[in-house]
Amino acid sequence: MSRQLKDIESYERKVRPIYDALDSRNWKGALKLCQQALQKYPEDQLIKVLKAIGLDRSGKREEANQVVDEVTATTPMDEQVLRLAAMVLRGSGRLAAITSMYEAAAAAAALQGPGQAELAQVLLNDVFGAHVRESNFVKQQQVAMKLSKASGLAVGAAGVSSERYSWWMVLSLLLQARAALRARASGRPAPPGQVPAVALEPEKMLALAEGMMSRQASKDKKLEGYDAFMVYVDVLLAQGKIAEALALVTGPLGESCIRLPAERLQLRAVLAALSGDLQAGAEALAEGLRLNPDDWGALLLLLDCLLPGTVQMQMAATSTGTMQVFTPQHPLILISGGLAEQLPPRGAPLPAGKWLAGRAATGGSGNGGATADAFQRAEGLLKELQALCVQTSTSPASGPGQGGDGKPMIMRGPDLALVELALRRHRGAAATASAGSDTEAAVVDAVLDYFHKYGDLVSCAVDLRTYVAALGPGASERLAAGLAEAADVAAGAAAAGDKREALKALRRQVCAAQLRDELGLPRLEGCGPEAALQAAQQFTTLYATARPLQEDLDSRERGAADELPALAAAALVSAAGAAPSDVEAVPYMLAAYGTLADALRDRPYGAAMRIAAAELAALLAAPAAAAAHVYKLDVKHVQMDTLASHLLLPPLLTWPSSAPPPPAGPAAQNPGEAAPAASTSGSGGPSPLLAKALSDTRALFEDHGRDAGETLFTAYSHGMYTKVLEFTAFRERLADAHTFSLVRAEGAIADCLLRGAAAPGSGGAGAAATSDAALSADAIRAAALAAVKSVKATDVPSKDSLRFNWDLTTRPTWSPPCAAGPSLQPLQWWSSRPACARAQGYGRRWWSAPSSAEAAVPEAEAWRAAQAAAAAHRWLLPHCIAGALGATGPEVLELRETVGRLQALLDAPSTSVPASSPGSAPVTLCDERALRRLDVQLYQAALAVQEELSQAAGTTNGSDDAGPEVSAPSSGPALSEAVGAIHRAAAAATSRLSTEAAAAEAWGGLLPGGNLAQLAHLLREPMTILAACLQTWQATSRALQKKRGKAAGGQDARLHKLAADVAAAAEELGAAARSCGDALSSLKATAAGRAASANEALLGYLQERGAGPFGDGARAALAALAREQELTLAALAQAATAVAKLAL
């Protein structure tokens, strides 16, 4: 055996066990083996990077990076070494370091001449990937060009063909065009590297890309495949070249690239419609539907083409004014993540002839743009498709309606399309003002027909929601009567039939109940609590009939009547909405909570029930219970953004809690039924629940930002070009997410306040906060100085820079998305309770449609504006806190500017949807704007005091000549006004709370959350910050007085006055905090002193009023809720004491 071979074997013997140890996650062992191996091979790069991996995995990130830096300094070229080094760097977010590492390696390989050409090519491939990670579209394109030139015709060294490299160029160019379009639309410059240094019009870039694609297509007479073809179509559409796109699809390239005929047909249909040839579109769609009649998207598009005047119109602004355009929505087009959407002309102008003819025929007011003939043709076609469904589903041969087990498949599309058609006809008739009662009756009949056919499907109520929501009061009554009758028949059948039939009959009854609720019937609003209690009773009675029918049902499967407890709870909350005062609303909310808790014992994964329970717990000052319900939903990944953020952040930001995070998923047995143990740490201690929620949510965005590059590079490598565009758009969407701004801002605020800051990743000031951290002005200042780093002044969120990903449809009808940011959401609910707690007609709410958070309706726009303003306010707060406490640094915005910006946010015309309805209870709670105004007042006062102090310091430093002409106005009035406002808000809440407590004794003392939330906010933020400021100012003015006393031998009257003002403010704030604290402590003591029988008293109270009966689930959950509210009271009392201590 040669010496060399022996060496290799001995080397292998050292390295192999390291890999094995890493594979089995034995980091310690791996590091030990590395150490041994390095003794024999001290300079070996591979062993070093393996060591770095071991260090990284065992949490020693810094050391790992040091080792990697050592290795990269020697310009390694070995692919494996580079790959492992990149893993460590990526984990630390050092994407730029990966790029320079591969650039250096590729350059070094290129220098080694033709012998290493293959390696150079492989490394250059990795350089491309590195630019993809960094979203550097310009450099990507340059590298792709080099790769394409170097790789010749055959598949290159990296397994990528020259043709694919030229597609990489095309895509890099398209992404630059897209970035330029986005920059143009937003008015903000594109991020570095995304557009060429020499500005090029995006239209020109698109034309260039098209040129490259068409050259490729004409040269080879083929395109690489489906993805290449679809990108080609998309670029044509982006340039408004619809006819060319259509020609491409119908031509030979279309045939070779789109292998599924049905898909080609659909694309042809959509493009024909887009080009304005609606007839051709309709014909192609009908052809496709005969093969697959249950394609809902195609059915809707068919109706659009046949009845163009009934299209829900989008107005497009053009240079000559607004134009009515028809833009078919279809997954096969507009795939580029917003490329085509950004360029006019999009969509086709409606064919003037047809459209105008329709209008003229009815005197110009528009009849929906379609004639009776057209409606009849559409109806005929739908009925043909309907018949086809029946026919194929019962014929023995395998057809579109044939299930694998011989059972007919359910194909509800054409049936539902008939309901859609009836509604379109009615809308058209309504628009002409010709009496719409006949056409409305036809909608009712169509809905009933559909219900008769599909009422036993779980989706039936969801399918019909939008149609039912469109009906007027009279038609609603008729439909409700029809449904009731059908449900009665079903109930009769249920009694007679077997279990299977009984379940089906039950489903019909449930569906009828859901639809009646959608109709707002039986009417609960304005009918007193009895109606609501009765309705709830009916829902629970029906729910009880489901139990014996589904004993063997898996707990994760959907139960036949799972919708009912949530409906019952909703009915009870509407009684809470109608209650004359907040405190009288509480028993109904508790009844709702108990009802849900009982049902959740049986159906622990019922999402609607969990969400409703979480919202109730959030409103009743029980954050741990709220969190437990949300975590039971097993929320993860992107749901941290879409769901958890608006369900979890409000309770955790509103209420202090020292409860540990609940176990996620199945481990949590009966969440919300166990109260957390009493807090042992001080009020300034961390909130583990909040810390977890913030860091988990941040992790979603940060991890994706770090890792998206890998998926993207894979998509490039495999030629999945449409995915490249899609993934890029997704990466940008997450980076701009409203939630991401929120958690960064809230994390920074929590850091400043030394709450929830102990968890890793929650922000920069982690080290400053431990559970024992005393609340002191110095500690807060230091924390604020660190915290501002994560809320850069240049990145203040705005409506246009944010993406809103919240899935608002998951919210209960009675918990509408409110204008306040999450930290004030529960307070906002209470301050507009009568308007919020309306529980019926979910389908009529603007936010009940999927993606409503980004919908183009005025309510959604107002909501987004309000959310953005709230987010910006929160973003600026850490700067305010740092500035007010006198912290300065390159990252801290000057206090004057920050205050100006806060004021400007407040001055912006209020677009928030007015929440309170006329005749509602007098609003006594502060709303979000009032509290934000309080912040402005506070920081204005801080600014005034600071200026006066610094002037005093200036004069003290001997320059008496500064003179009175530049003298700052006295800060006294501003300060006393701010303290007074805070004091009044706290005192009012405290006094109302005492009154509420007395009334609440009737049902065992549970309090409403409004005044508590107001106090919680005041104590957590403005009172704490003001106390810290006062402490600082007192110290400063004392020092100044001392200095001045020595320097001038006398006292300065101004300084004396200022010191007295500050002392008086501290006195007032301290007294206010103490009085809050006393009241809260006494409430807490009363709560603690209540006998265990309090829960029985509550249940008795509720049952006496017709709620319940309640089972063990309700008992446990309500007792836990009461105990947690007691803990919240205790924590708030502690917070008040801490503020008082800090102030005095």
């Binding site: 809902w296 299930g403 694998g404 859609e420 989706s459 999927p850």
Partner: protein, 130 residues
């Protein structure tokens, strides 16, 4: 993604084509139907689409999927769609649970060689494609 009448997400299927030679196949990564839209054959419609794409677009030999051994509801459903248990993969789910590798042959595998069940269980690290 199957979109419902109100643009709700009714369900989705996620898959890929992978493998070499006679092991070139379509793989079902995930198939999910929302609770509101169950019991109306939506999973089958989604599986049909994936099979058609594997067959006509990618010219695969077979389609395969992994399922928890305890998930009898899903196993029965796949069996109904024509899938057979090809083999067991021990400890596939984080070492906690075994998986069944279920397969269905496509037209290209006329001899149905891909669906002759293996008697011996394999370990996750011995899987050909992951």
């Amino acid at each position: 993604m199957a979109e419902g009448p109100g643009k709700q997400a009714m369900g989705y299927i996620l898959g890929k084509a992978e493998g070499e030679g006679e092991l070139w196949h379509g793989h079902v990564t995930a198939v999910t139907v929302g609770p509101d839209f169950r019991r109306q054959s939506l999973a089958q419609k989604l599986m049909d689409i994936l099979e058609e794409i594997s067959d006509k677009v990618h010219n695969c030999y077979f389609v395969d999927l992994f399922v928890r051994k305890s998930n009898s509801v899903a196993i029965n459903m796949y069996a109904k769609f024509g899938y057979i248990v090809y083999r067991t993969v021990t400890g596939y789910y984080s070492g906690d649970e075994d998986a069944y590798d279920m397969r269905k042959a496509l037209r290209r595998d006329a001899a149905r060689k891909s669906v002759v069940p293996l008697k011996k269980a394999i370990r996750p690290e011995d899987l050909e494609w992951e």
